[in-house]
Amino acid sequence: MTFILRNMWRRKARTFLTIFGIVVGIFALTVLGGMTARMNQQINGMKSYITDKIEVAPAGSSVRMMGGGMGGVKLLELSKVGEIEKVPGVKGASGMIMVQLKAAEGMSQPQMMIGYEPIAGTSMFNNAKLSVGRELQPGDAGKVLLGSTLATDLNAKVGQPVTLLGKQFQVVGIMDTTLGMTDSWAFVPYQDSLNIFLAQNPYFKAEGLTQGIVVFPKQGVDIEALSSKIQGSVAGIKTTSPKQAEKQISNISTIFSAIILGIAFIALFVGGLSVINTMIMSVSERRREIGLKKAIGATTGTILREYLGEALMIGLVAGACGMLLGLLAIAGLNRATHASNVVIFTVTATVIIGPVIFATVLAGLAGLFPALRAARLNPVDALKEE
């Protein structure tokens, strides 16, 4: 151990350069890892939302309603809700109207108002808990359920009024922080948001409009089969079952994983090559030493372990430095965006340990070939060298 560190110290500049090369890669890996962890957090939040319901959008729209694609291009007749509710296996369906409260500023999420028709015996948020109050109920009017970030912004308390888009609502509940986008959303009864929507878009004449429909199945009904059944029996709509929704969400996380993988490969290449180079150099300048060690009884395995240890140490030190720098950057960026209630990075155990293990294993693998070369050196030849 002292051995390894002193040998590394002997060639300070070279060791530093090698470590620096890996540090850069690991730094990038850590920061992106933090971003991915945050992404996954949001995705998991969405997944828990979609597991027990079918989403219905106008036919031909490519973007899922909850995916945020609220172009407001196509609308459905509210009568579709009734049609869907007639399909056997459907417990209830609710129209939805989304209105923007405040556009996204910088890196903050947009604030949205979501109107829906509460259905008795169902929960819109099967996994998200309420921190205070209750969900919306059938018959509610002028009531609002607030996401945690939005509630903080509005300084809202349950039972007290808040003003949204010029209209007063009474707060019935505040949701727990999910770290997902619903944190900055307000949920109101369908009719309230429709009124606001029509006031904003006076060229829509019809009263019975909806941007999307959420369908709840009866207990014990196969939700995937029900989704296709609705698709088949109601015209002009496009259903998205939980499985399909999950697949779309997974695609997003696949893209992020691909980016992380790309960075990892760059780190692999740069870091790996510089470790190989450093190790080959330190083996060739220490051939005599290796010969001596063998003469006094070191086995091939002993030499192999010594050099592999050196490579692993380089990886460990570089990995730890890169990771710590990454965490520092994450902490700084998160603080910078804190004011606008935005979290871009999440630090999980994987974000901390992953890059360090990656760097150590990488350096170990890169050091394997030079270490083997050192271990297999013929001591007689090595000792004769000048």
Binding site: K293, T299, T302, V380
Partner: protein, 227 residues
């Protein structure tokens, strides 16, 4: 029983079309407590012979036996174990590790013997005391003179209490004063510890200080006589 015996020992090198018989049919026995030198001109095969005696190299044909045990069929790890337990090497260029202090250099063979750190340190300091370098224990090789470096190397060779110490031109890089000192030291250790020492040299001044002189030429023994 002899510490080491060889019979029909041969080492052949092939470089391109030419073959070199570095050691060419050599029979030799070294007894416990001997203090001998192997003399010969440059290229006569002294170093090659020493490496064969110390199980660092394997012969092309013939045998080397250490304490009566033939080494011909042994695997590399078994040969390493013989070097670790039975042999102490001393080289012309000292071969101290520059990153380690004097006492840490002396500890190195014990480290490979897996001796515990405290015990290791105690024995290394003891060996340094025997070569008269106690006060230089914490110096790095760069801070030591040639004579001092070679004494550290001698301490490293005897710290494991080996059956046989093999020295390859140990005074080759030293001036006359230091040469005499090193030879006196080796002789002293030979007498006091009953240490068996074989010294390869081409320096008559070194050879005449040993008790037995083996002269070799072209890989063969030319003469073998008590001094």
């Amino acid at each position: 029983m002899s510490i080491v015996t060889t019979s029909g020992l041969k080492k052949v090198y092939t470089v391109g079309d030419t073959t070199i018989n570095a050691v060419n049919g050599l029979d030799l026995a070294i007894e416990k407590g001997e203090f001998l030198s192997i003399m010969g001109p440059s290229g006569s095969g002294k170093t090659t012979l020493l490496h064969l005696l110390g199980c660092l190299d394997v012969p092309t044909s013939g045998t080397v036996s250490i304490e009566g045990k033939e080494t011909g069929d042994l695997k590399p790890t078994a040969l390493a174990s013989i070097r670790r337990e039975k042999i102490g090497f001393i080289f012309q260029e000292f071969n101290l590790l520059p990153v380690l202090s004097a006492v840490e250099n002396v500890e190195l063979p014990l480290r490979y013997q897996k001796v515990k750190p405290a015990e290791r340190r105690r024995r290394a300091l003891e060996a340094l005391a025997k070569v008269g370098l106690s006060e230089r224990a914490n110096n790095k090789p760069g801070q030591l003179s040639g004579g001092e470096s070679q004494r550290v190397a001698i301490a490293r060779a005897l710290v494991t209490e080996p059956a046989l110490v093999l020295a390859d031109e140990p005074t080759g890089e030293l001036d006359t004063t230091n040469t005499v000192r090193i030879m006196d030291l080796l002789r002293e250790l030979n007498k006091q510890l009953d240490l068996t020492v074989a010294i390869v040299t081409h320096d008559p001044m070194v050879a005449e200080r040993t008790r037995r002189i083996i002269s070799i030429r072209d890989g063969k023994i030319e003469s073998d006589k008590a001094a």
